[in-house]
């Protein structure tokens, strides 16, 4: 697995890392809960046939500045700047969980600035009868199994790499969780249902079959509300962060949809 190219864009005076790899038509990627502490096999799968552009969201590994964002509108404006400045306007964009929510918002508010959309269990809804799991109220040993079907995958994803600073690395991972909390605390509910009907782009809704965070019923709600043509697909053997659990199957589903 070779490393991506790193560039930096400025968002509200804070540096924001953009990773790029591959060749072919562009595809944007906004990562899920926890961000991208490292490049992943899933992104490599996409990069085989596409130019993958993966900017970091504020407060997630590679970017700071989440503390400037006080409202959901602040976050949406930041996400739009990130998408535009990393050259993804008018392109295919995919996103997972936290990142998926911002992809959906962008597609709703600027419907002509996106080609096709793939969303993996995006956040933003909350149904009292079928509540999403509180990812921030987990005992330390339980969290990996909540996020991934295979807990070890999450542990490896977040483990301190050789040579990294053993104090700053964990702080960066907590910061990513805080950044998500800053926008989604306490229920993950951004009332996205009000804006989903504005999405005109063809939309793929992907769900890990063993997603323990976002109920599968949310996929149906989203599909019903999105104006554009929607397709729902579940990924066997995957949890909430399907791209980490099943990189090949998840990438294949997205590439087929966007081909």
């Amino acid at each position: 697995m070779s490393e991506p190219t790193t560039t930096t864009i400025d968002i509200n005076g804070h540096p924001c890392r953009v990773w790029t790899k591959g060749s072919g038509p562009k595809i944007g990627w906004l990562a899920g809960f926890g961000g991208l502490p490292r490049w992943t096999p899933f992104l490599d799968e996409l990069a085989k046939t596409r130019t993958v552009i993966a900017p970091s969201l504020p407060g997630h590994p590679g970017a700071t500045g989440h503390n400037l964002l006080d409202s959901h509108l602040d976050w949406i404006v930041a996400a739009r700047q990130i998408i535009v400045k990393s050259g993804l306007e008018g392109e295919d964009i995919a996103g997972s969980s936290v990142g998926g929510s911002f992809v959906a918002e962008f597609a709703a508010l600027w419907p002509h600035k996106v080609k096709r959309v793939a969303l993996i269990a995006p956040w933003g809804l909350f149904d009292e009868k079928d509540p999403a799991t509180d990812v921030w109220a987990q005992r330390p040993d339980d969290q990996p199994g909540v996020l991934c079907a295979d807990p070890q995958i999450w542990k490896d994803f977040k483990a301190v790499p050789a040579g990294a600073n053993s104090v700053e690395w964990p702080i960066e991972q907590i910061r990513a969780s805080e950044a998500a909390a800053r926008v989604f605390w306490p229920l993950g509910n951004t009332k996205i249902e009000k804006r989903l009907p504005l999405i005109l782009a063809p939309t793929l809704l992907l769900w890990g079959e063993q997603d323990r965070v976002m109920p599968r019923s949310y996929a149906d709600t989203m599909a019903r509300l999105i104006e554009g043509k929607t397709t729902i697909k579940t990924i066997p053997g995957a949890g909430h962060l399907a791209d980490l659990d099943q990189p090949a199957a998840t990438a294949r589903a997205i590439l087929e949809f966007m081909s």
């Binding site: 109220a137 104090v167 909390a181 306490p186």
Partner: protein, 441 residues
């Protein structure tokens, strides 16, 4: 020195198998464990105890705020403080305090504290805690990433509401109010003394120094665990050019007094074991919301963990001590809950509770006060499921046999952070409480 009587108001009838059958005393403690008719008696007992402490001559009675909590039945300490304002005369009322970020708008705190200050004739100490993760982020749903920013802004708003004479517009990041003009205003000028209950964060110490507020370390883990924190506080004060006036600081300590040490061990064991066994049984999933601890505080905690691990690797015997110390002084609430001692021997051995004869207790508390350089000692003389009779006994023993010996400590220093009430002659006369008359009516 000042000796202050602190009540947490714990629910006293959690079942014996609470730890085994229930995941947490906080946040999602089950409603079926709460019997309002029993709580009626508990509240009235607790208020009797607070009033009794005032009668016994304690310098202050203290109450605090918790939510969805089986060991703290005061979601609104202001309710209790206002009742105490009418049933005490000269005792300071220490509300420790109101978690500023939880009030919307925060001027509610300025108003209610001003009411208590007016009713009591200027006896209020205004405590402003950030609040625990369990209270603020989980029970009250406050965003952990914004909690401290909201707290600081609410503080600024309350202080302006107390001190500005004209109606003003507050244009904050989180609060906007066109017309801020609280009625009533506090008796104490320019405002009641402000105390900040906090953990061991350097930012809090520096802020207390800058604002000239009292820093109160409200730990349940006693003087042995608290010493390092208080030394850190005084080190920071020295760095900032502040004097060592012991009244800059407060410290919480559990105490049990009896004629002899063995009798004290016997009398207070049940209550102490109830508190440390059941009341601190908190589900770790509620201990560390991301962003609650600042990155600077996380850094200090992680660096000390790395150091402790290195010591453990180099010398297992020493390293074990370093790791054990992490359990009570570590950076996260969860670490502390996880490592807490639960048997009376361990509880006393680790210094969570100081027990003994009046002489034992006096000597230990003198050492605590001197070593920590703390002029405000906040004493928990009721804890866990301690009965009213035992709480009153403990209170009286302390007041009669320990307090007189300790009070002269730090006489050379002025307590600039104590309430300044109205002259006694100018204060309202409180009618004598006559329950028998009421009963006859």
């Amino acid at each position: 020195m000042k000796l202050m009587w602190f009540h947490l108001m714990p629910y006293t009838e959690l079942p014996d198998d609470f730890r085994e059958k229930h995941p947490s005393v906080w946040v999602d403690i089950h409603s079926t464990l709460f019997d309002p008719k029993r709580a009626h008696h508990m509240y009235n007992d607790f208020m009797d105890e607070l009033e009794f402490a005032a009668d016994c001559g304690f310098d202050a009675v203290c109450v605090n705020e918790h939510h969805s909590n089986g060991y703290g039945l005061m979601p609104s300490p202001n309710l209790i403080a206002s009742a105490l304002a009418r049933r005490t005369t000269d005792t300071a009322l220490c509300v420790m305090g109101n978690s500023l970020a939880l009030y919307n708008p925060p001027t509610r705190v300025a108003e209610e504290f001003a009411m208590i200050d007016c009713i009591s004739g200027g006896r209020l100490i205004a405590g402003f805690p950030v609040g625990t993760p369990m209270d603020t982020c989980y029970a009250y749903g406050t965003n952990p990433s914004m909690l401290r920013e909201k707290y600081m802004e609410a503080h600024d708003l309350v202080m302006r509401a107390w001190t500005e004479k004209e109606t003003f517009a507050f244009n904050g990041r989180f609060n906007q109010q066109r017309y801020v003009n609280i009625w009533p205003r506090p008796v104490q000028e320019p405002h009641p003394p402000v105390w900040i209950p906090g953990g061991g964060s350097v930012e809090t110490w520096a802020w207390c120094a800058k604002m000239d507020y009292v820093y109160a370390y409200l730990s349940y883990y006693g003087y042995k665990a608290g010493l390092k924190t208080m030394q850190g506080f005084w080190g920071e004060m020295e760095k900032l050019g502040k004097d060592r006036n012991p009244y800059r600081a407060g410290f919480l300590q559990f105490v049990g007094v009896a004629p002899t040490r063995s009798e004290a061990m016997e009398r207070y064991a049940e209550a102490a074991e109830y508190f440390y066994g059941r009341c601190l049984h908190v589900d770790l999933k509620y201990a560390s919301p991301p962003g609650y601890n600042t990155e600077a505080t996380q850094r200090v905690g992680l660096e000390s963990q790395v150091r402790a691990a290195a010591e453990a690797a180099a010398d297992p015997s020493k390293g074990k001590d370093a790791l054990a110390a992490q359990g009570t002084t570590g950076s996260t609430t969860g670490t502390r809950f996880n490592m807490v001692a639960k048997t009376m021997e361990d509880i006393v051995d680790r210094g969570y509770v100081i027990v003994g004869s009046p002489k034992d207790v006096e000597e230990q508390l003198r050492e605590v006060a001197v070593n920590m350089n703390v002029g405000h000692l906040m004493l928990l003389l009721q804890y866990g499921n301690m009965s009213k009779d035992l709480a009153k006994y403990n209170t009286k023993m302390f007041a009669d046999h320990v307090a007189p010996k300790l009070r002269p400590l730090f006489a050379e220093w002025e307590d600039k952070w104590w309430p300044k009430p109205m002259e006694k002659a100018k204060r309202a006369e409180l009618p004598a409480f006559a329950p028998s008359v009421q009963a006859a009516e």
